[in-house]
Amino acid sequence: MERDIIRKSKVWSPEKIEEIQEKSDLGRYRIRGQATKRADLPSFDDLVFTPAGLSRVPLEGYRERCDTEVIIGEGKVKRPLVLDTPIMVAGMSFGAINAHAKEALGIAATRTGISTCTGDGGMHPVEREASEKLVYQLLPSRYGLNPYDLQKADAIEIVVSQGAKPGTGGTLLGQKVSEEVAHMRDLPPGVDQRSPCRHPDWMGPDDLGVKMEQIREATNYEVPVMIKIGAGRVYDDTKLAAKVGADAIVIDGMEGGTAASPEIQLDHTGIPTVAAVVEAAEALHEIGLKKEIKLIIGGGISNGADAAKAIALGADVVYIGSAMLIALNCNKSLYLEDYKALGTEPAACHHCHTGKCPVGIATQDTDLMARLDPFEAADRVENYINSITMEMQIFARSCGKSKVNALDPTDLRSLTLTSSLITGVPIVGMGHHKPHYADYESSSVEQNVLSQLLV
């Protein structure tokens, strides 16, 4: 007789069982916040920098000047967007997060010389007041859009899609559609808002070209116009966005965040950020516009290493959203009972969609909001932005670069074959020695295989 063994199936894992049983109760797909939880995606961690040695001289790691400034729309619009460091706060709507969070992000961005972004839901006056440089999103929903706010913006971002859920529109569940949110979006309070995914007034790239002209006319060619696309058919989409005359193209990788999205889509749609940046940069290089059009990459960027590697692969700027919220206090070990009540715990919370954010960020509940002091929170975000800037500078200096944006793919090596294939960056240990292998040709089957892989 077989022994009694409790052995969990790898095929029918506890997570899969829980998912099936929850859906059998809900009668619809699961919706949640945060981002994909997949652990098997290629990432920037699969790359390392190759610091200077004898062949190249490093800069003094802690002291020597290393520029970080990036300008979007330079020479093309009357008021280009000047970023003191190649970081932008990604679009997160008033609705998804509250006015305290918006204010904190705005204060921190202003202090560090970077921009914030309205997200879907209109321009909140608190956010405009707090943010010296504010990007105004123009989305399919057109929530809160009006010509006055358009003219108050420091850049316009036409959103085609979002990395977390490319091909679908936004979702904001009723518990977060407060009176104020409903008013700003012209919706009935408490409704489960599902935004459209297609713009109401253009369909394809040719129409978008005319739309682009409309926005430029409406803003009197004052500020840059950017196009944001969730990473899917990145190579072609980037070329089309360039064709219609964007000053900057934002590519949002599949690790990008959301306040509410069908979970199945988070995990099974889109292109990982590290792959997306390579495709987008390649597309711009090919059409000879890499210098003219700024490439902004977002999706799971968490530290200076991610940011510097994205820049080395061709990005000019990184978009950071989720990590900014984490700096605000998202998933922090506070108010443990409230995490428990949501069925979760700090570092595992993805309950933005419920409107019951324990730390008072992704909620419109005034009691919970009170837990987020905008000024204290701004200090934390400011520190975080500064730390990423310093981390990027460390890599640039160690690679002998006096500008963060001078990092390039030759400063990198891949740790895995997959990463090497995706990025075109040679795998570690083999970058410049390929001809040397010729001496050993046919000496062993193993090396023949290796040579083929390197072709």
Partner: protein, 235 residues
């Protein structure tokens, strides 16, 4: 440009788009009450982002996005209009003598757009207020995701009328090929018919003898109701 006290005349044949819109803005600044756009030849983006009172007359067809992102403007198009005329209009009045292409009055927020002819697909898509009057027929997905406001269509409509609308009212004088998800036809009180008739006749359009009143039935407002049958219709 010939400038006199009462009006400014702009000839599109000899003026670039940038100059046209700048001249309209200058006319607004100089408090000129009327601008006449001659030879528009269906050019795009004529009269965009104007946010002060002025009356604009287009002596012919206009292309995409005419009078979009505007406020307080009144205008007449003596011809047809391309995509998204009056998109995101905040307040004012636009009269189109001919037909319009797709997305007429997309995201309309206030004021009135009156089209004497017919309109293409997605008329009044995402409307957030205001009034859209169409003397003839309206195409596929008219009133899709409408949020607020009033739409009056004197002729027939295509499929998916008012699909996923959150709020607002659509009045249809002719046949509805297919109602969109989450909508229903409700009774139209006589007083409301008279009001609609008045509005239509204000623009010289003959009102049909009756209207169907289409509204949101609210059944798609929230995800968490276990109405499998309803959701299966749209998901």
């Amino acid at each position: 440009m010939e400038s006199i006290k009462e009006k400014v005349i702009i000839d599109c044949e000899t003026t670039s788009l940038k100059q046209i819109n700048q001249k309209i803005r200058d006319a607004v600044k100089d408090k000129v009450p009327e601008v006449i756009i001659e030879n528009p030849w269906a050019s795009h983006n004529l009269g965009v982002g104007i946010t002060e009172s002025i009356h604009i007359i287009y002596k012919g067809d206009v292309g995409y996005y005419a009078l979009s992102l505007c406020d307080k403007v009144t205008a007449k198009v003596e011809g047809n209009a391309g995509w998204a005329i009056g998109e995101n209009l905040m307040d004012g009045e636009i009269i189109v003598e001919g037909n319009t292409a797709s997305a007429c009055g997309a995201s309309l927020r206030g004021g009135t757009i009156a089209v004497k002819g017919s309109s293409g697909a997605r008329a009044g898509i995402g409307m957030k207020g205001g009034e859209l009057i169409i003397g003839g027929n309206a195409g596929y997905m008219t009133g899709f995701m409408m949020q607020k406001g009033r739409m009056i269509i004197c002729g027939n409509t295509g499929k998916a009328l008012g699909d996923s609308m959150y709020n607002g009212t659509i009045y249809v004088g002719g046949e509805i090929e297919e109602l969109g998800n989450g909508t229903e036809i409700v009774d139209l009180p006589p007083a409301e018919y008279n009001m609609i008739k008045d509005r239509v006749e204000t623009y010289g359009i003959t009102a049909p003898p009756s209207f169907k009143k289409v509204v949101c039935n609210g059944r798609l407002h929230n995800f968490n109701k276990k109405e499998f049958g309803i959701w299966k219709e749209i998901l």
